[in-house]
Symmetry: C2
Subunit: 224 residues, 2 copies
């Protein structure tokens, strides 16, 4: 049986965050090391010993600040998604046409993604892949808000005569598809990165349509 340590924190509780972490603190060094290693190896294949070795501190220091391996993962995700939420708030305040605001929302999201590639890559692997022993994190809270905001803009665009009358879900997924593929190329082929200009062209292709207006995509053009 464990005896309580009179001078230690509860063993599963991470230290409360004090001043904002910066790179030179132990807390910050651990976070940076974890981000780098999770990005390069994935959550499950990264060991606590590696993280602390890269950070240059002892293993129990990680437990002191973050409580567990899971704790440092959740801290990473929490920080990144708080920034993403901030992007939504700022994009909501932008002005202009509905379509312009959709472009702006996507551009901001893409920009943030690119500035957080390490966490983004880990998120992608876990959100679209198996959990890998990582603790649950509510990615969908953010995704649903993004979708809601996009849907509202598309509906506004339909009201204003900028967006075609169609199922708003179809329009939404078409836009998200374009945004996602730009981000996915960033993840697996950074040398082919579309960049902001490429994302804009891609969105324009989706908004203007790939087909010549007179050409209706055939419903059943092939033998099945």
């Amino acid at each position: 049986m464990k005896r309580a340590r009179p001078h230690a924190s509860p063993s599963r509780k991470a230290r409360p965050a004090g001043a904002p972490a910066c790179d030179a603190t132990v807390r910050g060094k651990l976070l940076d090391a974890a981000a780098d290693l999770f990005d390069r190896k994935g959550y499950a294949a990264t060991t606590v010993r590696e993280i602390v070795a890269v950070a240059g501190v002892s293993k129990p220091a990680l437990y002191y600040y973050y409580g567990s391996k899971e704790g440092i993962y959740l801290a990473l995700m929490g920080t990144a998604f708080a920034q993403a939420e901030q992007t939504l708030v700022e994009a909501r305040e932008s002005a202009g046409s509905a379509v312009g605001r959709i472009f702006h929302l996507c551009a901001r999201n893409y920009d943030l993604f690119r500035r957080n590639l390490k966490v983004a890559r880990v998120m992608y692997a876990i959100y679209y892949g198996p959990p890998q022993g990582a603790p649950a994190f509510d990615f969908d809270a953010y995704h649903l808000r993004f979708q809601g905001q996009l849907r509202a803009l598309l509906e506004e665009g339909m009201q204003a005569g900028e967006v075609r009358r169609m199922r708003v879900e179809d329009a939404m997924w078409a836009v998200i598809g374009a945004l996602n593929i730009a981000m996915e190329v960033e993840l697996c082929h950074p040398e082919l990165s579309p960049g902001p200009a490429g994302l804009e062209r891609l969105l324009r292709a989706v908004f203007n349509g790939v087909a010549v207006p007179a050409a209706r995509p055939e419903k059943k053009g092939v033998r099945r």
Copy 2:
């Protein structure tokens, strides 16, 4: 130092594949178990002990047939991507308009994805995420072929007046974005699965355009 076993295969060589594996053979049971566990937990967080427990065989039996944990992973990927290549071959033989054939290629790809969700989820995590200790597998061999085939069809469509004149790369990524998002919803929200009908609607949205033809998406509609 190990002495060579006179009756065993070289320790790193998996047994040559004999008859096609079916579910009831040890080989097949191991593959199925691995697919299931890699899908549910990821490569790095799945242990060999778990795989063999699910398959109902001993651990060295896995080494006998596949040589290593990596070996069984590569066998899984190899099988799935061979099927995907076959899809490309079949779609290339289809007839109809360029746009119709693009729809058909996407529909076939989506269908195969849905029938191999387990392997697809693992592939997604590793292709877009960190390697997680998994051995290298040339996913891009297939992806580049798919892109090449799609690009050829788009160019054909431009020649035939079905597809707008634009950078063929933009058109290609727009189409792939639509296909990918349909697959990604399948991975993380199967209850929202677009299904083949939803994929077709999505592709139609992309081909027809999200914007009303007279409405040009603003190039700089918002403050930056």
